[in-house]
Symmetry: C2
Subunit: 426 residues, 2 copies
């Protein structure tokens, strides 16, 4: 852990690992766009017929070879695309990413792996680049072979459609049950140069720490050494994508891939100095934004729920309890019903497996205190209902037994979650 | 662990702790009734006004003092009734149990504890027994003080209504969102005497290992030493109530209380010999039956799901994977939709945190094989839909990497779960 205590406003104030203010101010400016916001990046999204109605293949491309880094699902069952990326991205250099939506290519055995490499081969050939620098991701139904007769022509078509303004088309093509495309881009000054970081993600359902059916692709024109990109991506993932949950399920296909081509012309980031801190802060801004968009768009969700646990003995304790609350179906359903049932929050904190003193706990919904010393506060149910009826609901639990905290995100559990998932394959 | 490999038919075949067949056959005969099936047991259920419309207070009573044992929630937040029982039942002798439905008396601080002891005091006085031999359980909303002005008169009234055939009235009075009363009773021969074990439970929602909002009361006329009753209850709970899950939430109030008054006249069970084995087998029959009834009656549930994982290296591995599958919202929603989405089963097995080889896994829905060697089997979707449309669905995962197995139970996740829990307090 770097210990960067990043606040998500436009201006970041970095702390050193010991938690003491190091006095570094980072200004991160959101800009329009996504994976093609950075210099030298192109993308496209096309229809290949893997899905019935919508575009289903995306390609992202860097005009020059880039350093690459990936974070993958911890699921014991890893889909073919995960294995392909661990191989190709793991080697450190990538130049293109192919994404297939509608079929996960998971539980497909040797054949699935062969199909995966065939995709990287086809895209590499079409783009005139080394197939070993092509990453491949897939999302969709498990246990069914890819329709290669449609996928390969689709990949070639997508390669021909690549454009510097193709970011949105790509973000649209990777969606499955998502209801909106998820993109984010920022600029940050590093060593006097303007560096851009952009990204796109798909989520919805099965979003969970340790990377659930969640794909995220981040591109940047920063010049950074591969091991540092790798460290930044892992650290940031832990505090962003690993802090969201929709239903606690962790998928076979999840990955976050980052690609940095150096075209910003900044001095190569080669140590954990200020340049690195600035880069990491900007990366965290992008990943937090995408993570929250994923949580907000959980299947059937009507609300984004932000759970903060503070006053914990350790940051790990805080995160464990926050996730326990965020994963509680009873809490999530109560928020859907705008019911200030703080007992369920208390209860979920209690079974997180972390030691704390229940009689010290204060709970807030928004700024309204609903529990004091582990017992009911005298609060207005009407005001609580009002707060819980908003599109964003903040739950804060103050354990009052230490000084650490953590924030995680989830969504409410609704009728539509059940409707969508009862017949996903149909 | 005793290692009793109990098969749930009418006839039990017991194995010794080493797993080798010890050749003891136990015939357990189901009989009508519940907590008053055993000799010298009385019960009642009355309306006290804690809830609006239904009976809400139950009392169970043994005509003579009995040995008592309890298993309690592991939640860090323990409700007042749990603390009262740990005190009273923990002392080893009990003669009566008071149950309040509609209010959990949880997160109520010192006042809640005072109220709890006042209930045992009132019931003890009314029955003319030592209040320290009275157990007390509560279930319902968290964080609201008990309406003592209704509870105490209700308790006294229930004491006056006690009857040898009051078991069903009690089982009915402890229900909250349960849709049916849960009772079971069996006879078993121990040392030439006929011993009866009966029980009642309430569940529904928040059912989870380590005792979720689940109350269970078991009464028996067996003569058994307290430490042996305690061991039997803990072992059996681990394989029954701790093997069910509805939504993964573990409550502040759960408990299983057993009361054995010795009126069957069997030789006092004082060691882990055959008599003990027979008693434990019968207890397991009762608890398995009640556990399955709880799972079947999960909030909004339409189906009972039985998940068996076999071919595991250890029984713990098997149970961990089985619970991961049973807790998967995606699996439970797919069963609701009668969708043979075996990929979700595979996926949930994969994130259980247990090492296994995905390419060896076979999966069955009922007797229909849907996955072979971790890949799709060639199966009839129509037949699968038929099997998944039944009231009971069996999912079997064969890891083929060892010889241990475990079975757990859950229910499907439905629209009604969301409806019920979105406005529980209203």
């Amino acid at each position: 852990m770097l210990g960067l205590a990043v606040e998500f406003a436009d201006s970041f104030h970095l702390n050193n690992p010991g938690g003491v203010d190091a006095g570094v101010d980072v200004r991160v400016s959101p800009v329009d766009g996504g994976v093609t916001a950075a210099r030298g990046m192109q993308a496209s999204g096309v229809f290949a017929g893997v899905r019935k109605m919508k575009n289903d293949i995306a390609v992202v491309y860097s005009e020059i070879p880039a350093v690459g880094a990936g974070v993958y699902t911890t699921n014991r069952v890893k889909a073919a695309p995960v294995l392909v990326c661990m191989d190709h991205v793991g080697a450190g250099v990538i130049q293109a990413i192919a994404v297939v939506s509608g079929n996960a290519n998971a539980c497909t055995g040797e054949q699935g792996l062969e199909d995966g490499y065939a995709i990287t081969e086809a895209l590499g050939r079409e783009l005139g680049i080394d197939p070993a620098t092509v990453a491949y991701a897939s999302t969709g139904v498990i246990g069914v072979r890819l329709p290669m007769d449609r996928v390969i022509p689709g990949i070639m078509n997508a390669a021909r459609q690549l454009a510097p303004d193709g970011g949105h088309a790509a973000a649209d093509a990777i969606m499955t049950t998502d209801t909106f495309a998820k993109e984010c881009a920022v600029r940050v000054e590093i060593g006097g140069k303007e560096v851009t970081i952009g990204g796109m993600a798909k989520g919805s359902g099965m979003i969970h720490p340790n990377m659930a059916t969640m794909l995220c692709f981040v591109t940047t024109d920063a010049a950074i050494e591969q091991p540092l990109l790798d460290t930044a991506l892992k650290d940031v993932t832990e505090r962003t994508f690993n802090c969201i949950t929709v239903d606690g399920d962790t998928s076979t296909n999840d990955m976050v891939i980052a690609m940095a081509n150096g075209l910003a012309g900044n001095d190569l980031i080669r140590d954990f100095g200020e340049d690195y801190a600035r880069f990491a802060a900007a990366l965290e801004f992008v990943c937090t934004d995408l993570a929250k968009k994923i949580a907000r768009d959980g299947e059937g969700a009507t609300k984004l729920i932000e759970v903060t646990v503070k006053g914990a003995r350790t940051a790990r304790d805080a995160k464990t309890i926050a996730m326990s609350i965020a994963e509680s179906e009873l809490v999530k359903t109560a928020v859907f019903g705008a019911d200030a049932n703080w007992g369920r929050i208390m209860c979920a904190a209690g079974y997180a497996g972390v030691d704390f003193e229940p009689s010290r706990v204060n709970i807030y919904i928004g700024s309204l205190q609903v529990a004091v010393n582990g017992m009911s506060a005298d609060f207005s149910e009407e005001r609580a209902k009002e707060i819980l009826s908003a599109k964003e609901v903040e739950i804060t639990v103050d354990l009052r037994c230490g000084f650490e905290k953590a924030t995680v995100w989830t969504c409410d559990l609704t009728f539509d979650y059940v409707r969508i998932n009862a017949s996903y394959r149909s």
